[in-house]
């Protein structure tokens, strides 16, 4: 059956016509994907777990390749989750490396070099990041197309919905909780009366979308692109409200998590990254389990961050440059970050979904902003993949891909998420084939 158009109904309501507000038409409109999945399958999710300031390649790359691999010294905290991991080493970002900490993420995620000279609030990407292309493809079924979150209070994110469209990020656990599990959220089995204000809100959005179109007729081509993004966003929020009005999905593992504290106090004057990371991990896991979203970009720490980690004598970024020798303090910080990553993966693996787990149905990519933090190299780009059993990820392995274009990884991930794309990137970042060996 062809889905009923929401537009038809809204047009009537905006004109002031009294229209019966009720659920039946909504269910007809939203179709079957949102309800219990008839075949008992679970959605495929994708997420990025990102940290800033690179690694120490010599201590990062595992010695052995393939299934004989053992975690390297920096990966020791990942030993317990080793069976879930696919470590990929040796790829490099081929786009211009002109901007420390910015060129790597730009090349890897957008396939193009960075616009702007310094990776701060000023510069941005020339194309959408591939996580957003995935979100565009699979996010339409969920209330939130994607979630952009952070542990360290970050000034700017990496995910871009399009050229110059850097997405805001949520570093506050309480606010993230309220957004996903606050007003309007209903866990399975909780039935409340639909709120009449929701449909009124949609009629407001419909008018706003109309104003955006009208304004677009009066401006130049560049501005039209900007307004088109706004128009599309307004339409997406309308859809998000429609999701709120419909019944929640029948995903048995979904529950409302505990409300996080309003703030997480510092420990000895230093941010408590561990506690905050644990709370954000639980919120993200439940957001996936409740099918509020299927795509996330989680920024544990941002590029160039100078976070004071426990017992370090200086900020993280400063140490990557100033510390000599084998950089024992930087290594200590990296192991600390890997411990938090392991906690995140374990959190996903504890959510049961049918005979498998949420981790099996979620493909997680761990990466950072450069290879060697000290030199800003983008050769030997650090990446670890976790989970993704239902995506066909080859797990418990170390894939050595010396000299391969990192864009191949991005293309592979989009294909693993079901996108029918045959190429990714521009210029030196362009590839037309996936990275061999990542899938089973």
């Amino acid at each position: 059956m062809k889905p009923l158009s929401r537009r038809t109904i809204l047009r009537g309501t905006v004109g002031g016509l009294a229209v019966a507000i009720g659920l039946p038409w909504l269910e007809a409109m939203t179709g079957s994907t949102r309800r219990a999945r008839a075949d008992g399958s679970f959605p495929k999710r994708f997420g990025v777990w990102f940290f800033g300031n690179g690694v120490i390649p010599e201590q990062w790359t595992p010695a052995a390749e393939g299934s004989a691999w053992q975690p390297s010294s920096l990966m020791m905290p990942l030993s317990a989750i080793k069976e879930h991991l696919c470590v990929v080493t040796g790829t490099r970002v081929n786009t211009l490396n002109t901007t420390p900490h910015g060129s790597g993420p730009a090349g890897l995620f957008s396939g193009d070099s960075l616009s702007g000279s310094e990776f701060t609030q000023g510069s941005s990407f020339r194309a959408a990041t591939f996580d957003q292309r995935i979100a565009e493809a699979v996010g339409g079924d969920t209330r939130f197309r994607s979630l952009e979150t952070a542990v360290q209070p970050a000034q700017y994110g990496i995910a871009h919905a399009g050229p110059n469209m850097r997405l805001p990020i949520e570093p506050d656990p309480r606010r993230l909780f309220n957004r996903i599990f606050g007003e309007g959220f209903r866990a399975p089995g909780e039935m409340t009366m639909p709120d009449p204000r929701l449909s009124l809100r949609r009629s407001v959005l419909d008018a706003v979308a109309g104003q955006s179109r009208t304004l677009a007729a009066r401006v130049g081509v560049e501005d039209r692109r900007r307004l088109d993004a706004h128009f599309t966003a307004v339409r997406a929020i309308e859809q998000q409200i429609a999701r709120l009005e419909s019944n929640p999905p029948n995903l048995a593992s979904c529950r409302r998590p505990d409300m996080p504290p309003e703030s997480i106090p510092d420990v000895m004057g230093r941010p408590d990254m561990r506690t905050k990371s644990r709370i954000m991990s639980e919120l993200l896991a439940m957001a996936m389990a409740c099918d509020a979203s299927r795509v996330f970009f989680h920024m544990y720490s941002q590029p160039v961050n100078n976070t004071l980690f426990p017992s370090a004598t200086s900020g993280h970024h400063q140490l990557t440059h100033d510390e000599g020798g084998a950089q024992p303090q930087v290594a200590m910080i990296l192991r600390y970050i890997m411990e938090d990553f392991a906690t995140f993966i374990t959190t996903l693996s504890r959510v049961q979904e049918g005979d498998e787990t949420l981790l099996d149905h979620t493909l997680v990519m761990l990466t950072t902003d450069c290879s060697f933090g000290r030199t800003h190299s983008v050769d030997e780009y650090p990446m670890i993949f976790a989970g993704g059993r239902s995506h066909g990820l080859r797990r418990n392995t170390h894939l050595r891909a010396r000299g391969e274009n990192a864009s191949k990884v991005s293309l592979t991930l989009m294909q693993m998420m079901g996108l029918r794309v045959a190429e990714f990137g521009i210029g030196a970042g362009r590839v037309t084939e996936p990275l061999a060996g990542m899938t089973t």
């Binding site: 009923l4 490396n97 209070p153 007729a217 900007r226 000895m268 900020g315 000599g324 800003h376």
Partner: protein, 611 residues
């Protein structure tokens, strides 16, 4: 050398010594050993012959999205100061360090749309559920649950202020219908009105400033309502007030009456807000919210440090510009400042008032023997350009080069070893430890350019506290700017004040702030005109603001093509590269939407001439 390069060099006055951008390779393969051949050495003095500029050519008219501060100011100006404006809004973008340029580039993301939506309902509730405010803004009495006339009166009045132009009849009809339908559903007139008000607040007509200009000959010109917005956001960082909107309506924003309006605006208390918006961008004061310091090393650091440090800079510059009407260059050398208890304890000065709260600032005057003077002696700069546990002469030097002198500093080359020695008997101070950067050929070009300024601030630690020693050794705060030597921070401040690059830099940043574009060769004439005027006027910033606001160039825009709007694309029934088919509207109805918009457009076209 092309014109663009010429121009860039011309903005870099006296760039006799500069570090040149390191060559970059497509990849850094093979350079990871630190030997990338990108030798950046001392650059010989460049004698730049700058040709006279061609006639000013305006830039494209652009939509400008409100910054967070402009959104807040708009709400407070249209309603009142006591409203709590939600702070979770689409973030600003600062290309070239300018949120004004960012405003011409940014769009509104899905998350941003959600945030604006939440803010709109939050504000509508604050305004229409509070009996005092409701009585103030809704001046008619509703005849029943639904009263379209009364709703229309409210929405038309408030809409003109929020959208900074009259709301057209067609637009008003939609808003009234939304309010009426909501009133009926919720059985309450004012609850219904919340939806109409919220629609005004979520509208692109509020969130974007529509400044497209009117075609006049071969160009476009900003006139009437558009010029009113341009002026008020430039000078006040907020929307036009009623007097300015009325002047626009009566087509009085030209000639002497324009000058009268601008002079009125320059005397308004709101000018301080406009000045602060510029200074916050220029000196990157927004970043003060994100600095972190090791609490064991810096017990006087706390959550209010960043806001306090920012307030000190803003108050001092406002004092010089607005109260004293002094030479703007004094911001680098003034011995007057404004501190609260937190800053007084960091600076080791006696705080005049007893029992004052953190928001209480007092003006203090340093004696000439004290080392602290001007904005570069303040905690904002000194802490912003430092690490959590230590200072950074390189970052401080870079700040001076880029923000005070508008000189370009390229990023460090890829693939170099940046480690510096730990403190040791041979190199105790940071100056001695950084010596390696002055010797290695790959590093020294830029590090001499930066560190020889930055090391002059070594008497101030990472929080801005004064110190005589570093690791037990006496600090040598001398250095040089290009060829001008200085002995200490005071003589450096004096040298920077007299540097011809400084006022030119201020003009350059103010130009970008006012226009929302980075200047190109085609706009050099205006910048040179402003620079001359600034100097002739004794470097009074208020005078420079007036020169910009009344200038012809401020009203001119390039004639751009505005082609007919194509109809919405019709989806082909399924996402080609997606697993799902959700997220796409069914095609059959989009034609209907286009019809509705066309009706709106023609209604607007009827009023276009009025704008």
């Amino acid at each position: 050398m092309n014109l663009r390069t010429c121009f860039l060099l011309s903005t870099v006055i006296a760039a006799s010594v500069a570090c040149t951008p390191a060559p970059t390779s497509p990849t850094d393969a093979g350079v990871a050993d630190g030997n990338d051949g990108a030798v950046v050495d001392d650059v010989p003095p460049v004698d730049v012959q700058v040709p006279p500029p061609g006639p000013f050519q305006p830039t494209d008219p652009r939509l400008r999205r409100l910054t967070r501060a402009q959104y807040t100011n708009a709400i407070r100006d249209v309603f009142d100061e006591t409203l709590i404006v939600p702070r979770s809004l689409e973030p600003d973008k600062r290309p070239e360090g300018s949120s004004s340029i960012g405003g011409t580039e940014t769009t509104i993301s899905q998350r941003g749309t959600e945030q604006y939506q939440d803010a709109a309902y939050d504000l509508a509730e604050q305004i229409l559920r509070n009996p005092t405010r409701r009585a103030r803004y809704v001046t008619c009495t509703a005849a029943g649950v639904r009263d379209d006339a009364c709703a229309g009166t409210f929405l038309r009045t408030i809409g003109r202020k929020l959208w900074r132009r009259p709301v057209t009849d067609a637009e008003l009809a939609t808003l009234v219908a939304i309010s009426g339908r909501a009133a009926e559903a919720l059985m309450d007139f004012h609850r219904g009105l919340e939806f109409g008000l919220s629609a005004l607040l979520q509208s692109p007509n509020f969130l974007f400033r529509e400044e497209m200009g009117t075609v006049r000959g071969v160009e476009r010109r900003y006139e009437r309502y558009e010029l009113a917005s341009r002026l008020s956001f430039f000078l006040w960082n907020g929307p036009p007030d009623d007097a300015l909107l009325d002047a626009a309506e009566m087509d009085q924003l030209q000639g002497d009456s324009l000058a009268t309006q601008v002079d009125r605006m320059l005397q308004s208390p709101k000018l301080r807000r406009g000045l602060e918006a510029f200074v916050t961008d220029w000196l990157r004061l927004d970043e003060l919210d994100f600095i972190a310091r090791d609490a064991t090393l810096f017990p006087s650091f706390g959550a209010d440090f960043g806001p306090s440090a920012r307030e000190e800079v803003l108050r001092t510059i406002s004092w010089i510009v607005l109260e004293q009407n002094a030479d703007f260059r004094d911001v680098l050398t003034t011995r007057e400042s404004f501190v609260n208890r937190r800053l007084a304890s960091i600076y080791g000065v006696t705080f005049p008032s007893r029992g004052a709260g953190p928001n209480q600032f007092e003006r203090i005057t340093y004696s000439p023997t004290q080392p602290r003077q001007g904005i570069l002696g303040m905690a904002a700069f000194l802490a912003l350009e430092a690490h959590p546990t230590s200072t950074s002469p390189t970052l401080r030097g870079k700040y001076v080069r880029e923000l005070i002198l508008c000189e370009a500093v390229p990023p460090p080359p890829v693939g170099v070893n940046t480690a510096i020695p730990e403190p040791n008997p041979n190199a105790r101070t940071l100056r001695e430890r950084l010596q390696v950067h002055q010797e290695v050929t790959t590093c020294r070009g830029c590090h001499r350019f930066l560190d020889n300024i930055g090391l002059g601030f070594e008497n101030f630690d990472a929080l801005g506290r004064f110190r005589r020693e570093d690791n037990g050794a006496v600090i040598d705060p001398s250095g040089f700017i290009d060829t001008t030597p200085f002995a200490d921070p005071s003589s450096m401040a004096q040298a920077l004040r007299n540097h011809p690059g400084f006022p030119r830099c201020v003009v350059n940043r103010l130009y970008r702030h006012a226009w929302g574009f980075k200047e190109e060769e085609a706009q050099r004439e205006e910048i040179e005109r402003l620079s001359r005027s600034f100097a002739q006027d004794g470097f009074h910033l208020r005078g420079l603001l007036r020169t910009i606001a009344l200038g012809e160039a401020f009203r001119r825009a390039r004639a751009i093509e505005i082609p007919p709007l194509p109809p919405l694309p019709i989806p082909d029934g399924g996402a080609p590269d997606a697993q799902s088919d959700a997220g796409r509207d069914a095609s059959a109805t989009d034609a209907g939407a286009t019809d509705a918009n066309n009706t709106d457009s023609s209604a607007d076209a009827g009023t276009e001439a009025d704008r």
